[in-house]
Symmetry: C2
Subunit: 645 residues, 2 copies
């Protein structure tokens, strides 16, 4: 028996792949990586009616592939081995789905990455699936087959980059870029490399001090510049295919260039300069804001911070710097507008950051299929004048350059099934698929995942599909309403606490009083955040009449009796969605129970136990939110349902 | 130089003690403990005009003492060595204070104890003065002179019992009553024993399972009864003067008799039976309540819990059981009524539990001299029909029996000055003094402590006295109003969070809505808690017209416009006290600054840095409380001061 779940990959090995075989002595035999050979080796003698040919082509694009099925020969062609590998997995999907094999594909994004927030002690910041697969007790894990299987899993959905350590880089983790820890980095890099995945390390801006013994980390100091150069040279001597660095600077206590009176272009270019000769990338996070804000100050707006810091620096970064921008302007809430930075830095490389791990979206205790949320962001029209099209959707912006792309904060750990909640695997799968092909629908991806993961008949597949497809909407219903966000317990961010962050220093407020609620981010009376978007978005958000209901409280402070476009008042919307959301969860539970016996017990019970927690938690959310707003507004529910006084 | 502060003791050694000498070869020389001899040895040849004679008297009471000063001879007489020791320290105080030496004293309470919440790993639950002086890294500290000095410190204020480990007894700490940890217990017990202090250990009710390998801890199981007997015998073989056990059972997750369908008398008597042959005590905490309460349930009342559980068991406990009752019915808030259990269990030994460590009272960052609060409790008239007097004040009840008394949760740790905040030493001093002589006033005790701790002129002593004497009232002003309590950040309990516990499972709510606030604990419409007191207290609390202002919200839910006895509305009282409280802290800071140069720098700066934190924190309290209630009530401040919207 496997010691851990091989997820959707398992199906490939068990099923249709066995109907085909690798043509021995073909081009592929010389050029394919050992891994691909291994995967194809287990072919049966039974079905000899089709030949499978893998072919590198000097004229074909790298990473892209073509699959043709003609005269009993299936031919996968690509400009490089990675492309053959992606073609191979796409072929398996198509075989499994019994659909037309002919396809020609190229990834929509050059960088398709996962960020791990793993610490050397084995803990994972915002990890909900057990300890790290990479580290334990201050060192790399030994005899570790999880990394190999994980790399295969990622390659199967087209991921080509991974950062393995937390962006909050403590002193111990800072040492990952020097020996002896660098030996472990090398080993992991080689494992990922076999699957076409580049390895990145998160670094500490103060490394020249921490590791180099210098007295400064000033990015304009010659000694600092030299230290980064020497350090990079050492790394690339050891690991020639090393991907580069990820850095969180001047953010939530991490050191950065501000300490030296330098801006973030200075900070980034100093380190990027050291990577440039090696053609490696520096990924610089834009999650920079004042985390010691005063709740009494209603003019400072955290939602503006990344934009205000980075938009003026557009064009000032070296070619091998990419700015990593979170999907929304605040922090991975279940509903936020897209960040206004997309489209606002056209002369800078941009990586869009999603959160696959369910920090604010149910912590892998709640079912929350995130693809619909990610799709909304990818499809968001920035109307940036720099775009190729007038609308300039984010997917076009991030797909435009060689050093642009998408990253996601990983949701995996050492748990048997990788993600704690079995159904959270779908988010990892969907994330990879959307990086590759953002035009896939959430529905297509979910259907694929269900088919590849379980062995259900069509009716049962539909039951599961229906449980999951709207689960983000359900989660949104019973948690913070109308885009206001942040009504979670401080610190761990699980469960309701309406005022949990209201008087704190994190810049995350709802300003509810006895009359109304919401954050005034308009140009005239608010923080001006709304008008940092390009038109027509600016006016749409700025104007209470055109601002979408689901973001109303993100942009406007309104009375509880304000009438939404839906025709309901804000307060009645709050009550209705919270009653409905809980009812939806009850339905999820009863639907899931129909799958008893259809899914193996381990997985069935894994989900069932979490559904019970979700049910309890959703009830808490319903009652606390309803009571809180009833106590504040004094307005009763139109339908007379139970709101505790 | 001393490695740590010897507190008020230091003064004794330095000053007046040197004016007297021990008569060599007198009675005292044979009978006094080594410690007393040591303390008296450092006498000068200078002042030979008085002789000091210590005398044991077979007819005198134990622990009590008489000091006479006649014909150049100072004579201390007692029925036992401990009494001589107390007399000796009292003599030092009187010498230091230059007052009449003649006195006759007996302790008001038989048990005068401190409870440490120290864990074997060296952490202290609710400790604000550094790590444990007893433990580190899972074992007893070695080469540890702090315990000796601490024992001397406690003896100097009459403490005669100490429990050294946390009442939350984890598996590791459960092993303290068996070898090898018992060897450490023995050593510490001997050190304390030299100062007349009995050592207690907090135990885990499930010890027969954890340590004994039994399958049950059922207090009626013969095997369990035998296990406790054998274990007690082992302990007393090793440590003949061992004091006994402290236990927190069926409380906040600790195991207890409820699991076996037994009541707390069953539970206590099983263990106490094992201690009885050794004349040792089992101290059983009454802090038993449902810590998984539902905030939606407004009938269950945590304030009733200890009373409802223990009052019906009165008289069912063995003679060597003492029930430990917290001062208030909930949990060490800055303002609570006295627990209604006092006087309600006349046939049971009772130990009153105070919290010296400032968990809810500023965590040794804020100045909060607690003696006035403790005095209120001690002086509280229970009107128990069982009392000697009609009023039956708590101090009479707890002073009535040999196994009654007072305990306090310790505020000390390994910090240089023991208590983190230098001025928090006054609470330790006051606690001991009040255990011995509850009729001392808060003012007398504070004056003593100031004189014995600092060397200030009278005007400066007055400055410090005025900073401290009303500091609890100041703390109360800027925190939770009118006895409602609990508006603290969950978990660590520091700083404001009005709704922090409002929707939680701890049974601690304020029920504030847009119309009013407070907990209805009346007989007619509320939880009935008010009428669990004896008359006339029951009627006084139950009747909104007679309930004291400072406990109004503890007993009644009232509109914000309710007029207090002070003539102010509730809402205006909230605003006024919060503005005033902060102003009071500003005054504390400016007054303290007058003492610069008058107190050594280390101590001056220790207090100053904490005063700065207190100032910041009081401002947060002021603004968060005011804003919260302004947002809820919509009622502006009569005086138009700044309340953030």
């Amino acid at each position: 028996m496997d010691l851990h779940d091989t997820c959707w990959i398992k199906k490939y090995k068990e099923a249709d792949i066995d109907a085909f075989y690798l043509k021995k002595g073909g081009v592929i035999a010389e050029t394919l990586s050992d891994e691909v050979k291994l995967l194809l080796k287990a072919r049966p003698a039974a079905a000899k009616d089709a030949k499978l040919v893998f072919k590198l082509s000097a004229t074909a694009a790298k990473e892209a592939f073509t699959i043709t099925h003609k005269n009993g020969i299936i031919r996968v062609t690509s400009g490089d081995e990675a492309g053959l590998l992606y073609g191979f997995y796409e072929l398996l999907r198509r075989l499994h789905d019994k659909c037309d094999l002919n396809t020609r594909q190229a990834p929509a994004n050059a960088i398709r990455m996962l960020d791990h927030w793993d610490n050397l002690d084995g803990t994972i910041e915002r990890g909900y699936a057990g300890p790290s697969i990479f580290f334990e007790d201050g060192a790399f894990k030994t005899a570790n087959d999880r990394v190999y299987d994980y790399a295969r899993l990622l390659a199967s959905v087209g991921i080509n980059a991974v950062a393995i350590n937390n962006v909050n880089v403590r002193r111990k983790e800072a040492r990952l870029i020097t020996r002896p820890l660098l030996d472990g980095v090398k080993e992991v890099a080689e494992t990922f490399g076999r699957f076409g995945i580049k390895l990145f390390i998160s670094i500490n801006f103060a490394s020249p001090i921490i590791l180099g013994g210098l007295t400064t980390a000033d990015p304009r100091s010659k000694a600092v510049i030299k230290w980064w150069k020497d350090t990079a040279n050492d790394i690339f001597n050891e690991i020639p295919g090393f991907g580069g660095f990820v850095i969180k600077a001047d953010s939530e206590g991490e050191p950065g260039p501000f300490a030296y009176g330098r801006d973030h272009a200075d900070g980034a270019n100093c380190i990027a300069g050291a990577l440039l000769p090696h053609n490696a990338l520096l990924i610089w996070r834009c999650f920079v804001y004042n985390c010691n804000q005063d709740w009494r100050d209603r003019k400072t707006d955290r939602a503006r911070a990344a934009y205000d810091t980075f938009a003026p620096l557009d064009g000032k970064f070296l070619d091998n710097v990419a700015l990593q921008v979170k999907n929304g302007p605040v922090d991975f809430q279940v509903r936020e507008p897209a960040s206004q930075l997309f489209g606002a830095i056209p002369n800078t490389n941009v990586i869009l950051e999603f959160q696959v791990t369910q920090e604010y979206t149910g912590q892998q205790q709640h079912i929350c299929y995130l693809a619909p949320m990610w799709k909304e962001i990818l499809d968001f029209n920035t109307y940036s004048p720099s775009g190729k099209t007038k609308a300039a959707p984010i997917l076009e912006i991030i797909g435009a350059k060689e050093r642009n792309g998408v990253t996601g904060v990983s949701n995996i750990g050492s748990d048997y099934n990788w993600t704690g909640h079995k159904l959270a695997q779908a988010n990892l799968y969907a994330f990879g698929r959307l990086c590759w092909a953002p035009n896939l629908t959430s529905e297509e991806i979910l259907s694929q995942w269900i088919r590849q993961t379980f062995s259900l008949d069509v009716a049962d597949e539909e039951i599961l599909f229906n449980i999951m497809i709207n689960s983000r909407e359900v989660y949104e219903k019973y948690t913070a309403p109308l885009g206001v966000g942040w009504m979670v317990k401080p610190g761990h961010h699980y469960g309701p606490d309406v005022d949990g962050y209201e008087y704190d220093h994190w810049g995350t407020y709802h300003f509810a009083d006895r009359n109304g609620i919401g954050v005034d981010r308009t140009g005239k009376t608010g923080t001006g955040f709304a008008i940092t978007y390009f038109e027509p978005n600016a006016s749409m958000y700025d104007n209470i009449g055109t601002c979408p209901d689901n973001l109303l409280l993100f942009f406007h402070h309104v009375p509880y009796a304000h009438i939404l476009k839906s025709g309901k008042t804000v307060i009645q919307h709050i009550y209705d969605t919270h009653f409905e959301g809980y009812e939806d969860v009850l339905k999820m539970v009863s639907e899931w129970k129909k799958l008893a016996g259809k899914i193996n017990d381990r997985e069935y019970l894994n989900v069932l136990s979490r559904l019970e927690e979700q049910e309890n938690c959703a009830k808490q959310w319903r009652d606390q939110i309803n009571t809180y707003f009833y106590r504040k507004s004094g307005i009763p529910d139109e339908n007379g349902r139970m709101i505790y006084p």
